[in-house]
Amino acid sequence: MFSSQLKSRRILFVDDEQALLDMAVSILKDSGFENIKTAATVREAVEIAKSFSPELAVLDVMLPDGNGFTLYEKLRTFTDIPVLFLTALGEDADRIRGLEIGADDYMVKPFLGKELVLRIGNILKRYYGKEDPLVQLAGCVIDFARAEVIKGEERLSLTAKEYNILQALCRNEGRIVTIDQLCEAAWGENPYGYENSLMAHICRIREKIEHNPSKPVSLTTVKGLGYKLTVRKD
């Protein structure tokens, strides 16, 4: 699922529970992540971060000599690596605080090993993987770098609104994106009352990306909820 290049990235895992550290390392190693170091305190974590130069840090919030949020601030003084909080603090206020200060993800214990691996992998992919600007659909290719749809020999330009809508759909490929989310992507905050305009834009996008716009295959409607983009995976 993740390239060996991504799996070779250095990971710092900070938690005051040795048993949990052992388990996390075991799970990550089973999944192919090899470069992992652990720390149980803020002080130890800062020291290891300086010597080990991790490329991703997984931080617990409640630590014996401080908390994960202050550790995050300390790490930020010398590195801008992605950070995932993994903590027992599951309150909304804690999650929001973690994400607000700039963490890339926030996971609440207890967690499934698979979920941890996937989240770490996705963060690494976002940071260190190269995003392909070309998205393959059933009847065409979308080139986000040029804001174009390549349909055989034909190149069709995307308008700004179409581009934003398609990007929102691509980010959630295979998942339903609600009408409200798409309106927000195209028109920003307070997107109420744009439902009809959205439908018009969807029609135009279908004309560009579908072979038969009246029978869409890539951009399908989920009645009452929203739209779904199906990407071709070769």
């Binding site: 996390a24 207890p110 409200d180 109420y192 009452g224 909820l225």
Partner: protein
């Protein structure tokens, strides 16, 4: 203070009615006494009858036997004065010694109006003379000058009205004077009693007529405050305890889930062992969800859950939750049909978006957990008067009448009567109810029209005209 005003109105009403009753009673008594007083013309009548009962015979004057007996029974005496001589021509046997035997015109005038030697006298006339009846001294009091001015008689109705008015005013004044002080003492007490349930009572001044009562109210308020504080402390301790337990259990549960997940993936293990690991993992997720639910339910119960209130389009929240649900339905066995009316699409409610999303998610999860083989879920949103109605209904296994009845009474109760593996006790619906209550709304449970289960959530609409406030349902 509505009660106080009502009390004052009630007292004034009683006063008014009592005044009228007393007046009517007085009139009745007056009439009764007057009637009795008219009987007091009796001595005059008796005197006249005595005069007529006196007959002149050869030997002089003779009084009839009946009249004699009547006079004797009254202990009265009588004299008959001749018109010409002004001398007593006849008298009864018992006659006080001081009664003169001859009279002048002025003495006759005097005895007619008043007394002879203190004996009240009454007169009756015949053609030849004057009959004078004397009663014992303590029998009658005579009004010596009984004459009335005609102007006065003419003005009697007006005078009566004035007297009545003065009386009422006097009674009112007396009432006001005597009750003002009392009311002054009662008003703060009444206000204090009204404020007692709110628990925000300022200490009463212990003075005035009802000082004892003020002391007792202060004591009661203190007791209530202490009890409320204790209760709040207890509730907080309970919620914190649940929160603490749920926090402490997360790390060990992580280990259980993590290692079980690892074992599940381990191809060196037998299929059976991996299935066992899968079961541990699965049950751990149930424990995790239960802990989260328990934590949220206790916080909602004890009002410790932060409530970030803002204007929300309920359709947007529901649509997002439904999309998330479909996105997480990897097996594709749940079909969602969302229907909204035009009014509902634009309607706004005031509330916490995350909590409302959680309520919708719980309802959808409820359908999922009770119908593991899949079902169709209908979500409808419509408006009704001042409320937004959200209905989540499925065509799944549904619920028996008995269990529906139990569930309506205790939202966390759910009996597993179908033999399905999944435990049916949960806090999902309780949380939905708590979230609805926190939004001044309500939740109704019913059988679905398609044989499944239906939950109807009613959330008050945002009332723009009422300064952005919502109405309690």
């Amino acid at each position: 203070m509505k009660g106080m005003a009502k009390l004052i109105r009630h007292c004034v009403g009683i006063l008014f009615v009592s005044t009228i009753l007393i007046l009517v009673l007085n009139v009745c008594l007056f009439v009764a006494i007057f009637m009795k007083q008219t009987a007091n013309i009796e001595p005059w009548t008796t005197a006249q009858e005595t005069a007529l009962a006196l007959r002149q015979e050869n030997n002089g004057y003779v009084l009839s036997r009946e009249m004699e007996l009547e006079l004797a029974s009254e202990h009265a005496w009588a004299i008959y004065i001749d018109n010409e001589t002004l001398k007593v021509k006849w008298h009864t046997k018992e006659l006080p010694q001081m009664v003169p035997m001859s009279y002048t015109a002025s003495e006759i005038a005097q005895l007619t109006r008043g007394y002879i030697d203190g004996y009240p006298t009454y007169t009756g006339v015949t053609e030849d003379g004057l009959m004078v009846l004397g009663y014992p001294k303590d029998r009658f009091w005579k009004h010596m000058s009984p004459s009335w001015d005609y102007d006065f008689i003419k003005n009697v109705p007006a005078i009566l009205l004035i007297v009545l008015g003065v009386n009422i005013a006097a009674i009112g004044l007396i009432y006001l004077v005597t009750n003002t002080k009392f009311l002054k003492s009662v008003t703060p007490l009444a206000r204090a009693i009204e404020e007692l349930p709110s628990g925000q009572l300022e200490e009463l001044k212990e003075q005035g007529l009802l000082v004892g009562l003020a002391v007792k109210i202060n004591q009661t308020a203190q007791i209530l405050q202490v009890q409320q504080q204790k209760l709040r402390k207890k509730e907080m301790a309970r919620a914190n305890w649940i929160s603490g337990i749920s926090h402490d259990i997360r790390t060990p549960l992580s280990l259980v889930m993590g290692y079980a997940g690892q074992l599940e993936e381990n191809l060196l293990l037998s299929e059976e062992d991996r299935m066992k690991a899968n079961m541990i993992c699965h049950q751990s997720i149930i424990i995790k969800n239960l802990i989260n639910d328990l934590n949220l339910a206790s916080k909602l119960e004890y009002h410790m859950q932060p409530f970030e209130e803002k204007e929300i389009n309920l359709c947007t929240v529901v649509r997002q939750s439904a999309a998330d649900f479909v996105n997480s339905d990897f097996a594709g066995i749940y079909r969602i049909k969302l229907e909204t009316t035009k009014d509902a699409e634009v309607c706004r409610v005031r509330g916490d978006q995350r909590l409302l999303a959680r309520a919708v998610r719980n309802l959808l999860d409820n359908s999922r957990s009770h119908n593991p083989k899949g079902c169709c879920i209908w979500i409808t949103i419509q408006t009704e008067r001042e409320a937004c109605l959200l209905s989540v209904e499925d065509d799944g296994v549904g619920i028996s009448k008995e269990n529906l009845h139990k569930l309506r009474n205790t939202f966390h109760y759910m009996m597993d009567d179908t033999g399905i593996e999944e435990p049916r006790h949960g806090l999902g619906l309780l949380i939905v109810q708590q979230i609805a209550t926190a939004h001044n709304g309500a939740v109704f449970l019913d059988h679905g029209k398609n044989g499944g289960f239906q939950v109807l959530m009613k959330i008050p609409l945002l009332n723009k005209e009422a300064d952005g406030r919502t109405t309690d349902l």
